[in-house]
Amino acid sequence: MNRAAVKLQVERLSVGYGERIVQHNVSFTVAAGSIFAIMGGSGCGKSTLLQALIGLLRPSAGSVCFGGEDYWSATEARRTEIGRRFGVLFQSGALWSSMTAAQNVALPLEMFTKLDAPTIDALVQVKLSLVGLDVGRDSMPASLSGGMLKRVGLARALSLEPDMLFLDEPSAGLDPVSAKRLDDLILDLCHGFGVTVVLVSHDLESLLNICDDGIFLDGNTNTAIAHGSPKALRAHCDNPFVHAFMNREQPGAEGSPHGS
């Protein structure tokens, strides 16, 4: 498995629902082993863009390439194969409600590997420990808290040892300590396992702490208005809205896309 070859290239991508275009002409490249942020205000289409990257929503134009291979022009069987190297953490955790937390993490291993039950169990226990879930492993999702659901969701995303992790608002709804722990974990996974991470977030602190590169989407012009690492965008960005966002300020009245 050559991890160095896996990286993501998005070119002139347009996504939307039917006639309504949510984001258009978005291009960016994610280097292998890096943590890439998709930033932007609420409702600007970050999650929609993510859906096009993970194969849930066919883009209306443009291309998404993984390791040089165009995802959306591949056959469905090939897309499934590529998709198996992704781990996805959905905003709400999206755990399968009829299974316990541990079973949620075990299911992909049972489906796609030939490992025996004790090995799968050992892997599941380690993954749940990695994400810090020490209690409630045999509980049903309905009886877990929001933060626990997120952690189990992350453990499940890691179950098949993905090359790419897509995280939709990983730290939303977590307390600061858990959020910091999650940030550290993402860094460790990225450096330890060589996983490439694409994350959607508007949690400034985690964006600044962990992301190497990123893109800033705008909900008014429906396209990317800034590229660069969150730190760089915070230090300097010509766009006043991005500058205000990254510095947690009220956007100035003049020139701001969201100005009064």
Partner: protein, 385 residues
């Protein structure tokens, strides 16, 4: 170091991936080699055997020079080794490991997590008691709901209600207009089947013409109300339960409760009123279309003259029979709606619970409708009606 002082233990992985260990005095150095990836290297469970064989060890170290790519598989191995080391009081020296692996290893617990306490077993007597209490509580809850719904319906009819009119109209459309196709199909077929089956017996006595009486009385008195109710139970009762159970799962019911919006006014009343008002109309429609079914068969296949059929049918039924059917349809409508809402409200929050609620509502609705129909039949018989 003399060769005699060292000895090797290797993992029995034939692929060459895995580990070897080399003993130097009281220290063993485990060298990790090759890729440690899920599905490519099996997770070795011979760790404790390794340590057990060298009971005199006091330290285990690592050599990772030949280690390739790795994932959780390596962490499982290291964590098992660390636990075994703790068990034998052997110093686990992780300095030879890659720093990223050390950091991830730090996140893992040193000891096996204690298993969740087993659910306390309860005796049969307790189990029966819990069931009986549960059934009694359900009877109380359903009775309360019926009572509250009756009172709310009465005050709604007087114009005092907090129910949203648009909800009522939407429910009426769903339970009325949109149900017409399936009610038509079922009733027309039932009318036609009655005519067919009846003709076989009646023809033997030369009483073909009484097919009209048979169809009209059976449809008006029993079949239209019953078949329409069964169709509505499957179609609308199940839908009510599924809707409300889904709202339960997405915390919509909690949101209503937190605002103090009465579930009765917002959720239950529109549905109950919609079915109570639409069922009689569907019954009348179903009766008419059922007789049309019987008429078509009688005229086209059994060669009975249309005018004779009409005259016979009109003479066979009375207004009392029509009112009896109407009363039944109202009762069936109330039963289906209340069963659907109640089952939805007591559903759990998962996707499976929604499916279970829909199934339960349909079963309770159909069985309830048939049981209620039997009660009506016994009452009518007792009253000589």
């Amino acid at each position: 170091m003399a060769k005699a002082e060292t000895s090797d233990v290797t993992s029995d992985d034939p692929s060459g991936h895995g580990w070897t260990s080399r003993i130097h005095g009281a220290t063993t150095v485990v060298s990790l080699q090759g890729d440690w990836l899920v599905g490519e290297t099996y997770v070795d469970r011979g760790v404790s055997r390794l340590l057990h064989e060298y009971g005199s060890l006091d330290r285990v170290g690592f050599d990772t020079e030949r280690l390739g790519h790795w994932d959780t598989t390596l962490l499982v191995f290291l964590s098992q080794l660390r636990r075994a080391s703790a068990h034998y009081n052997i110093d686990f020296d992780e300095t030879g490991l890659p720093s990223t692996a050390r950091r991830l290893l730090d996140l893992l617990p040193l000891r096996e997590l204690s298993a969740a306490p087993a659910i306390r077993s309860i005796s049969i007597a307790q189990d029966v008691g819990v069931q009986v209490i549960g059934i009694w509580a359900e009877i109380v809850a359903v009775t309360t709901l019926v009572g509250e719904a009756t009172l709310a319906t009465a005050s709604a009819l007087r114009g005092h209600t907090r129910m949203r009119r648009i909800d009522l109209l939407t429910c009426m459309q769903e339970a009325g207009l949109e149900a017409l196709p399936i009610v038509s199909i079922v009733n027309v077929l039932v009318g036609a089947i009655l005519a067919f089956v009846g003709s076989i017996e009646l023809r033997r006595f030369g009483a073909d013409v009484y097919i009209a009486n048979l169809v009209a009385i059976a449809v008006l008195r029993e079949m239209a109300a019953l078949m329409t109710a069964i169709v509505m139970s499957g179609r609308t009762g199940g839908a009510y339960a599924a809707q409300i159970a889904t709202m339960q799962g997405s915390e919509e019911i909690d949101a209503l409760r937190s605002f103090g919006i009465p579930l009765l006014d917002y959720l239950i009343l529109p549905r109950v009123l919609a079915l109570i008002s639409m069922m009689p109309i569907l019954y009348l429609y179903g009766s008419a279309i059922g007789i049309v079914g019987g008429f078509a068969v009688a005229v086209a296949m059994l060669k009975i003259s249309p005018s004779i059929f009409m005259a016979q049918a009109a003479g066979a039924v009375t207004l009392a029979e029509l009112l009896f059917g109407l009363a039944k349809s109202v009762a069936f409508g109330a039963l289906i709606a209340i069963a659907g809402c109640r089952v939805g409200l007591r559903a759990g929050r998962s996707a499976a619970d929604v499916g279970r609620a829909a199934t339960t509502a349909v079963v309770v609705g159909i069985v309830g409708v048939i049981a209620l129909d039997a009660v009506f039949a016994v009452c009518a018989n007792t009253l000589d009606f």
